[in-house]
Each structure stands twice: as structure tokens, then as C-alpha cells.
């Protein structure tokens, strides 16, 4: 009883908030958190379309569910490796701020 458009608009807004965070935040952990927001927005979209197609075709659709599960898996792997990289970089450079990791600048 909720229009599909509401979900799509909410997901688009969440995605853009995440995009803003990725482009503007300084702290590497913050950037990862914004990426999580974007992935969540994608998941809202996928599940909204899962609902739409299920009601359109009358049977449960598997493919969107598989996509959502893959997004979960990729998010988990990405966070684990990303945070390990941040901790490792922090040990060497003493900073979590990406602007201060200027090893290649000479």
C-alpha cells in the first residue's frame, strides 16, 4: 500500500547523502561509513524492485534476493579489509585522515 516511488526516492536520497560523505569527509573510517550508506541505499532499491516484480509476476523472485545477499557479503568483506588497512596505515602514518597520507607527494 506504499507507492514504489517513495522507496526509490528515499533510497536515492540516502545514496546521495552517502556520496556527499565519501567526497567530503576527511577521516578514512568516515568514508567507509558513507560507503555503507550507499550500499544500504542500493539494497533498499533491490528489495523494493523484488517486491514489485513479485507482485507483478505472482511468484517469489530469487534473483533480487541473491543480489541483496551478495551486497551483504561484499559489504562485510569490504569493511573487514578496509578497516584492517586503516589500522595498518594508522600504525605507520599516525593518522586516520586521508589528506595527511601523502607518501607519494614527495
Amino acid at each position: 500500500m506504499i507507492p514504489l516511488s517513495w522507496y526509490l526516492i528515499a533510497a536515492a536520497a540516502l545514496f546521495c547523502i552517502g556520496l556527499f560523505g565519501v567526497l567530503s569527509r576527511k577521516n578514512a573510517v568516515s568514508i567507509l561509513m558513507s560507503v555503507e550508506l550507499m550500499l544500504n541505499a542500493v539494497n533498499i532499491n533491490l528489495l523494493a524492485f523484488w517486491h514489485y516484480h513479485t507482485q507483478l509476476q505472482g511468484a517469489g523472485q530469487i534473483t533480487p534476493q541473491v543480489f541483496v545477499a551478495m551486497v551483504f557479503i561484499v559489504a562485510a568483506a569490504e569493511v573487514a579489509v578496509g578497516l584492517a588497512l586503516i589500522i595498518s596505515a594508522y600504525r605507520r602514518r599516525e593518522t586516520p585522515v586521508v589528506d595527511e597520507m601523502t607518501l607519494l607527494k614527495g
Binding site: 567530503s24 577521516n27 523494493a48 517486491h51 562485510a76 589500522i87
Partner: protein
């Protein structure tokens, strides 16, 4: 306006507001806590879509594991209590404008689709067919290869995270 619509509006507003606070708050720890609220809101949105399994998995994976990991990292990278200086870059208005434009583009593009305003009706109770989903994941004609690749990815992430983050004794000194 039905009860479900009111629930949706409240949850969506809370989710988007806390999403804004994630990228806007100055204390890193606060933005992590706002992130937890956002993820919870997204889980409730999943529940309103009658995807109960994914709502629970969202809580389990995102709140129980990912946000905890993020908070751990925040605590280990030390600048937790004393970060009052701005957390965004100097020219932050440019990404803001870009995000707004992108939102306008997405919304405008979606609005041209004829099914945009279609109502999502209530599905039958067994629409989220978990048994079929599970067997499709291990079915050679279905999604067994993505499933196995994802498992290998998780294993590689596990090993890689330990390898990267482990403290080597001789280098620390």
C-alpha cells in the same frame, strides 16, 4: 493515508536525518552511533517491504558486526574524544552541490518511468520463499558459482584482514 504509510514516512525521515548526521556530525563516535540508527531504519524499511529475513540479516550483519567493527577501529585510531575540528574538506559545498544534482537527476529520470507511482500491495505470506532462495544458492543451474565465489571472497577477506592488521613484533620495536 494508511497506517503503514505513516510508519514508512516516520521511519524514512528518521533514517534520512540520521544519515545526514552520519556525514555531518563532528565527533566521529557520534557519526558511528547515528550510523547504527540509520541501519536500524533501513532494517525497518526492509520489514515494511515484507522482506523479514533481510531485515533480520541487516540487524545481524550491519549492526551486530559492521558497526561494531567500525567503532572498534575508531577507538583504535585514537582521535576519538578530541575531534572538535571540522571533519569535512574545505570545499565541501562542491560535493554537496554534486549530490543534490545527482539526486535531482535520479528522481527526474525515475519519474519518467510509467510504473513509478505503482502501489506495492501486500504479498501472500510465503512470498519470501526462503527454501527456494536457499536451494537456488546451491543449485548448479542457479547461483552456485556466485555463492562459492562469495565464500572464497569472505575467506580471503578474513585471512587478508588478519595479515594486514597483525602487529609484527620485530618492526614495532
Amino acid at each position: 493515508m494508511s497506517g503503514l504509510q505513516i510508519v514508512f514516512l516516520i521511519v524514512a525521515v528518521v533514517t534520512l536525518f540520521s544519515g545526514v548526521m552520519v556525514v555531518a556530525s563532528r565527533k566521529m563516535m557520534h557519526s558511528a552511533l547515528w550510523l547504527i540508527l540509520t541501519l536500524l531504519g533501513v532494517a525497518i524499511l526492509f520489514a515494511t517491504l515484507q522482506a523479514g529475513f533481510f531485515a533480520i540479516v541487516q540487524v545481524l550483519v550491519y549492526i551486530g558486526a559492521i558497526s561494531i567493527l567500525i567503532i572498534f577501529t575508531l577507538m583504535l585510531t585514537r582521535r576519538v574524544m578530541d575531534d572538535e575540528h571540522p571533519q569535512v574538506i574545505k570545499g565541501w559545498w562542491l560535493p554537496a552541490v554534486m549530490a543534490v544534482i545527482l539526486f535531482g537527476l535520479i528522481a527526474g529520470f525515475l519519474a519518467t518511468w510509467e510504473d513509478f507511482q505503482v502501489m506495492l500491495n501486500e504479498l501472500p505470506a510465503d512470498a519470501e520463499n526462503l527454501a527456494a532462495f536457499g536451494s537456488a544458492l546451491v543449485n548448479p543451474a542457479g547461483y552456485v558459482i556466485p555463492f562459492e565465489v562469495a565464500s572464497v571472497l569472505l575467506l580471503a577477506a578474513l585471512v587478508g584482514a588478519i595479515y594486514i592488521a597483525v602487529e609484527r613484533k620485530e618492526k614495532v620495536g
